[in-house]
Amino acid sequence: MLVSLFITCYNDTLFPETGRSVVRVLERLGHEVEFRPEQTCCGQMHWNTGYLHEAIPILRHFVEVYRDAETIVVPSSSCVSMMRDHYLKAADSVMDASLRADVEALLPRIYEFTEFLVKRLGIEDVGATFPHKVTLHPSCHSQRSLHLGDIPTRLLKQVRGLQLLNLENSQECCGFGGTFSIKNADVSSAMLADKVRCILNTGAEVCTAVDNSCLMHLFGSLHRQRTLVRTAHIAEILASSAGERA
């Protein structure tokens, strides 16, 4: 299958290893990956911060770039939730019927990365080996918007050597929330402190998630506190094979 990768702006800029891992997993499973260099961003940061007018051209651009793509895979539940929860509303807000029609046609072809593996391809074992203690932070958008449920867990359980450790209060937000982490830095930091405490209590070496946004936030505190816990997007774990360091 030809898979169109929407890497997302922050993965592109800050976490290229996640994109490389997605490519690796998909190619290992025998799929062809294409990357359209015109792509930029889903518009979430602008939309969620209240810059609704500024978000419209960005999402319009996204729709243009992927109009003829058959299958679009996104390694971020947060960006997919922006598309599923807000794109139609955004089209309606500018009373653009043709944009609405384009979005309606596009949405069923967009998948979050783990959702694509398990729901679309029906694969839980991607042939990965990752001999480490891992805990999963089930990000808010993956749970409450995309309703991924146990999909990420099912993938991790098939990874050779991986020991999955239970995270207490796992459903609670890590406090990132995009610009919330800056506009309400104190509250965000307090939420983060609770989440980090729970992660440290698991004894995990690696904290993973389907969103690098949360992981960037968690890493920020884990590193500031000089802990040895690393963060890795789930794609990086699923791309790992025997004999490699994480």
């Binding site: 810059y51 309400n184 930091s189 500031r224 790992s240």
Partner: protein, 502 residues
């Protein structure tokens, strides 16, 4: 100048109020403990219902329908209530509501009245208003009594004294009830409150309440509660005055079937409330001789007129969103500077006042969606938060100051850079160079200028990698586009493209 009566308490914005509360470890631990307990009970009693999601759908449908035809149902309620012997009054705003209630109380020449827990009366500032006219209102809900005696403010609209623990309550009772020997067991505290309140129940002739629901078809008023003190106030006094927001009306009596299941399960984690009082007008020899309903608008009509945020008025005040909210868990209710705290407060308060006054509240959320998930009438609070943020930004952009503000400039710049792949690519290359003044020798960023300093106050950040994904892809794809998807090619790419060990 701000009106003297207001449900919005001060000019402090949310981040400022929150900062202070975050340092109060006692309050934070009280809030965390109490919300955890309620939340666990709520999860258990909602989880046991096979039709919980259908009950939420039904609740949403009934509330949305009521609001869509609010004018009709309010008039129907007025007629039915009047027919049953009640008297209906219409209050445009807080000041009118207070005047009407004061007038009704003064007609009976009393200087003290009973109060049943009513957040609507907190919204209009009824108690301080009555006080300035020589009338003392006695709160009879245990939590409201604690708040009143402690000269405090409610921090949660179902459990107003949630931020106080038992020992703190005991201190307040010891001091205010003159009971130096009072014990610390829950029974001791309840017994002290009972003696204190009983005397008032028997002596006072006028009571003021709120209501959970109004029933349009028969003019009934419904209050659910846990303690029975409300029932005392509804049955013993000669005069009962109920102050109710106009949005509280339901079309039919049978609609209670849904809400008497969803409200207690969502609010206190009980299958049903211990006391469910529903009364219709007056009846000789039974309950109050005189019954008034004061219907309060107080800027609810404009909310009704906004299609995007109308759902705010579907709220049945269960406070499940407070108990589920990770922001509320950290700060408690006082950070919201309003009688309506938590996620629902973050959308309700700015709309009941002005977006300018409550402008920090729609940003007091990480948009995690926990509030929407638990809401028994399915108010999409994150969606309304974003809608209100949009209105705030739109207003800001009308002024030069707003246009030149750091957020507006930053967002405009970002939007410009995200307009095409080539611009984003250019921005990445510039960022890789420009970041050097912030990056330490370990490749980390530990300090950034305002407003990004908010991030680095507690968090490090990895510097931008030498190669963005698109840079890597273009180098990888360079030899021949046609070879993409070829197994040999994939194998080659895997060698370069795997996790890099960072």
């Amino acid at each position: 100048m701000k009106p003297a009566v207001s449900s919005h308490w001060s000019d402090r914005d949310f981040p400022e109020a929150a900062r202070e509360l975050l340092e109060d470890s006692q309050t934070r631990s009280n809030v965390r403990h109490a919300t955890d307990v309620i939340q666990a009970k709520r999860d258990a009693v909602t989880g046991e219902l096979p039709d919980w999601q259908q009950l939420r759908d039904a609740g949403e449908a009934i509330r949305a329908h009521s609001l869509a035809h609010l004018d009709f149902y309010l008039e129907q309620f007025e007629q039915a209530c009047t027919r049953a012997g009640g008297q209906v009054h219409w209050a445009r705003d807080a000041a009118e509501a207070n005047q009407i209630i004061l007038g009704l109380i003064q007609r009976h020449s009393v200087t003290e009245v009973l109060k049943i827990k009513t957040m609507t009366s907190e919204e209009v500032g009824l108690n301080p208003y009555l006080e300035t006219h020589g009338i003392r209102a006695h709160e009879t809900d245990l939590a409201e009594l604690i708040i009143q005696l402690g000269k405090d403010k409610p921090s949660h609209f179902v459990v107003p004294a949630l931020h106080k623990n038992r020992m703190q309550v005991r201190e307040i009772f010891q001091r205010e009830m003159h009971l130096p020997e009072l014990g610390e067991r829950p029974e001791d505290l309840a017994s002290a409150a009972r003696s204190y309140l009983r005397e008032k129940f028997f002596r006072l002739k006028v009571a003021v309440s709120g209501a959970n629901f109004l029933i349009a078809e028969n003019g009934a008023v419904c209050i659910v509660e846990s303690e029975g003190n409300g029932r005392m106030c509804l049955t013993l006094p000669d005069v009962l005055i109920s102050l109710v927001g106009i949005e509280k009306v339901l079309p039919r009596f049978r609609d209670l079937e849904v809400f008497l299941q969803t409200l207690p399960r969502s609010a206190t984690g009980e299958r049903m409330n211990p006391y469910n009082s529903i009364w219709t007008g007056v009846r000789p020899g039974d309950g109050p001789k005189e019954f008034h309903v004061v219907l309060l608008d107080n800027r609810r009509s404009p909310i009704l007129g906004d299609a995007e945020s109308r759902q705010t008025l579907q709220c049945i005040r269960c406070a499940a969103c407070l108990n589920a909210c990770p922001v509320y868990h950290q700060t408690g209710g006082h950070a919201y500077e309003s009688v309506y705290a938590g996620p629902i407060g973050a959308i309700l308060t700015p709309q009941l006042h002005s977006l300018e006054e409550g402008r920090s509240l729609p940003y007091a959320s990480s948009l995690c969606g926990a509030c929407y998930e638990v809401c028994p009438v399915k108010i999409n609070i994150p969606e309304v938060l974003i809608h209100l943020r949009g209105k705030i930004v739109e207003e800001d952009q009308k002024t030069l100051r707003g246009q030149l503000g750091i957020w507006n400039l930053g967002m405009a710049t970002a939007a410009m850079l995200l307009a095409s792949g080539a611009r984003l690519s250019m921005a990445q290359r510039m960022g890789q160079i420009a970041q050097k003044i912030f990056v330490n020798r370990d490749g980390m960023i530990e300090r950034l200028p305002f407003p990004l300093s908010g991030w680095t106050q507690t968090r490090d950040m990895k510097s931008l990698p030498k190669q963005s994904f698109r840079q890597w892809w273009s180098e990888r794809a360079a030899p021949s586009e046609a070879s993409v998807g070829n197994p040999d090619r994939a194998g080659h790419a895997a060698g370069r493209g795997g996790p890099d060990g960072q």
